[in-house]
């Protein structure tokens, strides 16, 4: 871990209320960061704490101990709305506001009471293109588009703010394979061309391998392995990692982009 990470969770511990009412520890002194221009995939079984970790980065949740740093500054020193506009989160299930695609793309600015982005401007057109949103959809009812199209609009909508880092919570789990692959290409491009720091939480090892620079494997609230995709997926060092990889469907393994 270097000191230059754009977004870093440092020794974070977090619990969640369980059905019995007693809090269950989901993260145990976890440290994980991502650099600008880097795509980090966080993989692990359900309940390993992936989503909780992701929600700590933009302060939808707060850790019991430890801290989150954005460019070396504790995120508590930002106002939460400012922080979240800089580190937007795209959820598993796309949620679009009532109205047209254009209304949705301008929602972030409207909510922040900022000037609405000009969707015809070259820079913004390029960004929307990278998210694979077609300008021909602009005047259509956003909720009538396919799930794949909706998720791409959610991605573009998140990007059209003062975005520095992107949090993606299983963004492709509702999509079919080709659509998921297209989205993975978008993520890759956003990291490469815009220098974004991206944290992608996913179940899908094949997707992680396809687009991530680095993979972190989370088991029971701790990062057990971290490194390039080839190492984590094909040459795991720990018994826990090997067991997790064995339990994943075969089709997710071995295939390369």
């Amino acid at each position: 871990m270097s000191l230059t990470e754009l977004l870093l969770a440092k020794d974070v511990t977090a619990s969640r209320p369980s059905e019995t009412g007693l809090p269950v520890r989901v993260l145990q002194k976890t440290t994980l960061g991502v650099n600008a221009g880097e795509l980090l995939a966080v993989v692990g079984p359900s309940g390993s704490g992936k989503s909780t970790l992701l929600r700590l980065y933009n302060r939808l949740l707060e850790p019991e101990s430890g801290q989150i740093l954005l460019s070396g500054r504790n995120i508590k020193s930002f106002s939460p709305p400012v922080l979240r506009a800089r580190i937007p989160l795209v959820a598993q299930k796309p949620y679009l506001f009532h109205g047209t695609v254009k209304d949705n793309l301008q929602a972030s600015a409207r909510l922040r009471r900022a000037a609405l982005p000009d969707l015809q401007a070259e820079e913004i057109k390029g960004l929307i293109e990278r998210c694979q949103v077609s300008p021909s959809w602009f005047d259509r009812d956003a909720r009538k588009l396919s799930i794949g199209q909706q998720q791409r609009i959610c991605l573009a909508r998140a990007m059209l703010g003062p975005c520095e880092a992107l949090l993606l919570d299983e963004p492709t789990s509702a999509l079919d394979r080709p659509t998921a692959d297209q989205m993975a290409n978008s993520f890759r491009q956003l990291a490469d061309n815009m220098g974004l720091a991206i944290i992608l939480v996913t179940h899908d090892l094949r997707l992680a391998e396809r687009c991530a620079d680095r993979i972190a494997l989370l088991l029971d609230g701790a990062v057990v392995e971290e490194g390039p995709a080839s190492q984590i997926l094909h040459n795991p060092q720990t018994a826990g990692a090997r067991q997790f990889l064995m339990s994943e469907p075969i089709e997710h393994r071995g295939a390369t982009a």
């Binding site: 969640r16 209320p17 933009n58 302060r59 939808l60 949740l61 707060e62 508590k76 939460p80 709305p81 400012v82 979240r84 506009a85 800089r86 937007p88 989160l89 795209v90 959820a91 299930k93 949620y95 506001f97 929602a107 972030s108 909510l111 922040r112 909508r157 998140a158 703010g161």
Partner: protein
């Protein structure tokens, strides 16, 4: 034609209670199994209203502000408790929020009407203050329960929307806006409908009462119009306060949605 109301004797009251016996008989005939409820409710009404009558009789004769204020405080207490019993899921700090809203919403509107509009002398005249406060609090209570319930339902249904909004850099105030405005609308619907239907569908109780006790109908009408405005104002202000104080309890101190 008499200008004062005809008193009802004990015998008269017993005669009307025979109508409840008839209702019990009819319920029995249809096997509705409601006879017990009718009997107990009828009895409760008798005891409760008789007690209220004696208390009011006493307070009217005391000619002092303290007992009047005491009665108003008890009314507000009962109103808050009734809302608490009616509402299934309570927001955090429920009693504090609702109590404050009723106190300032209903209290403010009632005193505005009595002092500024009617120009009551003495200011605590129980003959005006107590029945008017009762009407204002009773109606605001309905509005408040509707608002609290609706706000809760909205926050449950709109969870995804609100979180998406927050994730795009919105303040909690803006994120809660759709839920809050929908709850406000729901709370005001009964008052708005009552005003529109006034006089057509039913003759309101206060006006009927005033006419029965010998008030000139046009004066009774003016009072009815005034009290409806005061009630609507109170429902609006009470609801506004509940929503403004209440929506924040759905969020954490760091402006995210509370987990439930």
């Amino acid at each position: 034609m008499s200008t004062t109301i005809i008193d009802l004797s004990l015998w008269d009251l017993m005669t009307v209670y025979s109508l409840l016996l008839m209702s019990i008989g009819l319920a029995h005939l249809l096997k509705a199994g409601q006879g017990r409820d009718i009997f107990w409710s009828g009895l409760r009404m008798f005891v409760q209203l008789l007690l209220v009558g004696y208390v009011l009789h006493l307070v009217f004769s005391l000619q002092s502000a303290l007992p009047v204020l005491l009665i108003l405080a008890v009314m507000i207490g009962f109103a808050v408790q009734t809302i608490g019993a009616r509402v299934q899921v309570k927001m955090p700090r429920f009693y504090r929020v609702v109590g404050t809203a009723i106190l300032f919403g209903c209290g403010g509107m009632t005193f505005f009407f009595c002092l500024v509009v009617i120009g009551l002398k003495p200011w605590y005249d129980p003959r005006y203050l107590i029945p008017l406060a009762g009407m204002v609090i009773g109606n605001s209570m309905t509005g408040a329960s509707l608002a609290v319930e609706r706000l809760n339902a909205e926050f449950r249904e709109r969870r995804e929307e609100i979180e998406t909004t927050l994730c795009l850099g919105s303040t909690v105030q803006l994120a809660a806006e759709p839920a809050v405005s929908s709850a406000f609308r729901a709370a005001l619907i009964p008052s708005v409908n009552a005003m529109a239907a006034m006089g057509l569908v039913f003759l309101p109780g206060m006006m009927t009462g005033q006419i029965l006790s010998g008030t000139e109908p046009l004066i009774a009408v003016k009072y009815q119009i005034a009290i409806m405005c005061v009630i609507t104002g109170s429902v609006a202000l009470t609801t506004f306060l509940i929503l403004r104080l209440g929506y924040r309890s759905y969020f954490t101190s760091y402006q995210s949605l509370r987990e439930d």
